[in-house]
């Protein structure tokens, strides 16, 4: 076991944790906003994927990582408009539309990528990191944790921001009311549909951002279906975190570690089929759900469209 925990292994593990966990963090925080407001956003996988593709295209043609990230976020937000119009405003079944969005984006991005890039298969240049002075010099974990692309730091700061938003602002109160008792919000004169629309739009942006990060910063190239379930993990994180952003952070990092095990194990020279390690995060989800079945927190009005006057 001692031979396993070499510096290279640990460093690689932590680096991978951040790389894999940050998109999950963004997706989880995003989904948490929707779920708090009472919308079960199954389409988040599609929002991440469209963010990945658009982010890639933007970064490739504009030559800028940040532009790619922002473009990815905007793409995710644009896609979320479908969910806003069809589900939040018209009241169509959120699950059916979510599945449709995910399948549609999978097909479209795969086709678009083939049409545009199948001959060239371009890669993006490696991204610049932003080393935090002092912290980045800590042996072994320093570079892995503190010499990353600034998006990572922003994501971590976002956790604290969301925690503040939920408890100490009117936006947070409105979201909570929209999810737990929309009638109360309506009676108070705040539009439930508007609140939920903004929530879903934010989810789309964060999910798109997460997908763009995955593609532009971590992978450097786009592969069809590359999000591979990250959006669904985001849903799980949101469901298990009981409305608290810090739990999303912990969960995202735990998932990040198990996902990064694949490469880290190879670095350590252990022969194990990659699929076993790939399974681990999902097995973990099941284990956690079984263990904490009674404690998953979902707002009372989740999944139900709001109609004024209906009691």
């Amino acid at each position: 076991m001692g031979a396993l925990l070499t510096d290279a292994f640990v460093s690689s593990l932590i680096a991978g944790m951040i790389a894999a966990g940050t998109p999950l963090l963004l997706a989880g925080l995003g989904e948490q906003i929707s779920e708090k407001a009472g919308v079960l956003n199954i389409g988040i996988e599609g929002m991440m994927l469209v963010g990945a593709y658009v982010g890639f295209v933007a970064a490739y043609y504009a030559g800028s990582v940040w532009l790619g990230l922002i473009a990815g976020g905007l793409a995710g937000a644009a896609l979320s408009l479908i969910m806003i119009v069809l589900c939040v405003r018209l009241g169509l079944n959120q699950i059916v539309i979510g599945i449709a969005m995910t399948l549609g984006v999978e097909g479209m991005t795969a086709m678009a990528h083939h049409v545009q890039f199948s001959r060239s298969y371009p890669r993006l240049p490696a991204v610049e990191v932003w080393a935090l002075p002092g912290l980045a010099d800590i042996p072994v974990i320093g570079p892995a944790l503190f010499a990353r692309h600034p998006m990572v730091y922003l994501a971590f700061l976002l956790v604290a921001f969301m925690a503040w938003l939920y408890r100490r602002t009117h936006v947070g109160l409105n979201l909570q009311a929209a999810g737990d008792r929309p009638a109360a919000l309506d009676v108070a004169g705040v539009g439930v549909v508007a609140t939920r629309s903004w929530a879903v739009l934010s989810t789309g942006f964060l999910a798109g951002l997460g997908g763009a990060y995955m593609c532009v910063v971590v992978a450097g190239l786009f592969v069809p279906f590359m999000t591979g379930g990250a959006g669904f993990i985001g849903i799980v994180l949101a469901m298990l975190s009981r409305g608290k952003p810090y739990w999303v952070l912990i969960g995202a990092m735990l998932f990040g570690i198990s996902l990064s095990m694949t490469t880290a194990i190879q670095v350590a020279g252990i022969q194990l089929p990659t699929e076993i390690v790939q399974m681990l995060p999902f097995v973990m989800v099941i284990v956690v759900l079984v263990a904490f079945a009674r404690h998953s927190y979902l707002p009372a009005a989740l999944g139900r469209p709001y109609v004024r006057g209906e009691r």
Binding site: R168, T169, H170, V171, L173, N174, Q176, A177, D180, R181, A183, A184, L185, D186, V187, A188, G189, V190, R308, G309, R311
Partner: protein, 527 residues
């Protein structure tokens, strides 16, 4: 408690003293197939307790919805303090100082009192916790109550939540307070406290509009009573008139307004004569059952029913009555004790078996649990017997038998519908209730449990149902009637048991002092 004199106890000001604060002219509202409000003219005065009285379906809720901005009238005008206004959303109503407290409380249970009160402020401002706290203290003082601002609303009692709702309604301006059926969830004691609060508000100049379908309440609280019937305002009794009448006279006048030429007061029929002596048909012995979110566990419940007896169960909602009904009917398992039907223990039997043996349960939640709206009448009539012969043979449905059975029941209980295959969700409330009755009361019932059977029914249907219960009792069918309307129980039942915190607090024989004794038991005073 009730005598000939007026109840409010203070001298009455003449109409001229109180300015008109709200004026409705020609308000009309139409829905598909029904005109909910028809050309209504109404004046509400400041510092008045104005009762809007009418039975279910008279149009009270629609009128309130119009005043609070949920609906817009199809015709007519509204004027507040002399100025004509348009109330297009709840926000507008609040801005005009019109606050509404609905029957179904609209508070977010996972937020604290202060957080609930802060809802509605512009999203870009930081929450004004201090300012909110100050205003809260101000209004609590006005009402004469104490409120803990940091308590999560979910942990408060229904009465306390209602108080928060009243504070919320008065928040932006204490001009007009509308209370929609406020006493349905309260104990007699709670009703008295509410009355005190309303009078304090009146003294402070607030116009209080009280919506109710209960005559007694109207006479007790009201200084001015407007009677609604089938969408129209059919009459009004002003403060001067009301002061001059005795309680009986007021009642008769109102009944005349509500029901036209008919002279029978709603409480005319005789109480069912005492049941036949002999072996009990239903015995409930020491049963206990687990509680659920917000509801206490059942413990140590014992009583027995004789054939033909009508037994009432009174109590404030949420004290375990529904749970008791479910336990006896078989929908909930019991943890201890026994239930016997005709001497045979049925505690381990399924609902279908209990149905077959004659034990029936008519739930209050007709569309939420009593029927499946998307399925046909025919299937719903057999909802508790799915898979049982002769309707199903070896698991396969026998359409002919099912249809024949359904046609018979529909005819016998006068369920108005295009056919037995009509989806139950398209039926009117009255017909859904009839379908429920058809299911539970056909094929030789022995004991029928009714949970709030007349809830939401208009008077014609409610009276018909009471008649049916009496007829069945005379034919030897025992009934348990669960209700939170004492009048109904006092008019129907020979004995009334009272549920409090999951226990049967006592059983009261109907008679002279029954109302007071039941009321005391409802708030936990020992029998």
């Amino acid at each position: 408690m009730n005598d000939g004199a007026r109840m409010n106890g203070d001298p009455v000001a003449t109409d001229g003293d109180k300015p008109v604060v709200l004026s409705l002219r020609g308000i009309t509202k139409r829905f598909p197939r029904v005109i909910a409000n028809r050309d209504i003219d109404l004046d509400v005065h400041a510092g008045d307790i104005h009762v809007l009285l009418g039975e279910n379906g008279a149009g009270k809720s629609t009128l309130i919805a119009i005043l609070s901005g949920v609906y817009q009238p199809d015709a007519g005008s509204i004027a507040v303090a002399g100025r004509e206004v348009r109330i297009q959303a709840p926000r507008d109503a609040l801005a005009l100082g019109i606050g509404t407290v609905y029957q179904h409380l609209a508070l977010v249970p996972t937020l604290t009192v202060i957080e609930n009160l802060m809802l509605g402020a512009p999203w870009y401002r930081l929450p004004d916790v201090t300012g909110t706290g100050t205003r809260l203290a101000e209004l609590a003082g006005l009402l004469g109550i104490e409120v803990d601002g940091d308590a999560p609303v979910g942990g408060l009692s229904l009465g306390q939540q209602q108080q928060i709702e009243i504070i919320k309604a008065l928040w932006h301006g204490e001009r007009i307070l509308i209370l929609d059926e406020p006493t349905s969830m309260l104990t007699p004691q709670g009703v008295r406290e509410l009355g005190k609060m309303i009078r304090r508000l009146r003294d402070a100049g607030v116009a209080v509009i009280l919506i109710t379908h209960k005559l007694g309440e109207a006479c007790e609280f009201g200084e001015r009573i407007s009677v609604l019937k089938l969408g129209r305002l059919v009459g009004e009794i002003g403060p001067a008139e009301l002061a001059a009448m005795s309680r009986e006279e007021a009642t008769r006048r109102i009944v005349h307004l509500m029901f036209g030429a008919r002279d029978d007061a709603p409480r005319a029929a005789a109480i069912v004569a005492d049941a036949a002596p002999g072996a009990p048909v239903l015995e409930v012995e020491g049963i206990a059952a687990a509680g659920a979110a917000g509801e206490p566990a059942l413990a140590d419940i014992t009583f027995a029913l004789r054939p033909g007896e009508v037994f009432g169960i009174a109590g404030v909602d949420g004290n375990g009555q529904k749970r008791l009904a479910e336990a006896i009917a078989g929908q909930r398992p019991i943890d201890a004790g026994d239930i016997r039907l005709d001497g045979r223990s049925i505690a381990a039997l399924s609902i279908a078996k209990r149905q077959a043996m004659g034990l029936r349960y008519v739930t209050d939640d007709r569309l939420g649990e009593g029927t499946v709206a998307e399925l046909s009448i025919a299937v719903n009539l057999l909802l508790k017997r799915i898979g049982e012969p002769p309707y199903w043979r070896r698991g396969i449905a026998h359409a002919a038998t099912i249809e024949r059975d359904a046609a018979e029941k529909v005819a016998a209980f006068d369920v108005r519908a295009p056919g037995i295959h009509t989806r139950v969700g398209t039926l009117s409330g009255g017909n859904v209730q009839k379908a429920l009755l058809a299911r539970e009361l056909s094929q030789e019932p022995r004991v029928v449990i009714y949970n709030k059977p007349t809830h939401g029914l208009d008077l014609a249907n409610a009276t018909a149902l009471h008649e049916r219960i009496r007829e069945q009792a005379e034919a030897g069918v025992a009934a348990i009637v669960i209700s939170n309307e004492l009048d109904e129980l006092l008019g129907l039942c020979g004995r009334i048991g009272v549920m409090y915190r999951g226990r049967l607090r006592g059983i009261v024989e109907n008679g002279a002092w029954a109302e007071a004794r039941v009321g005391a038991l409802m708030i936990g005073v020992a029998a």
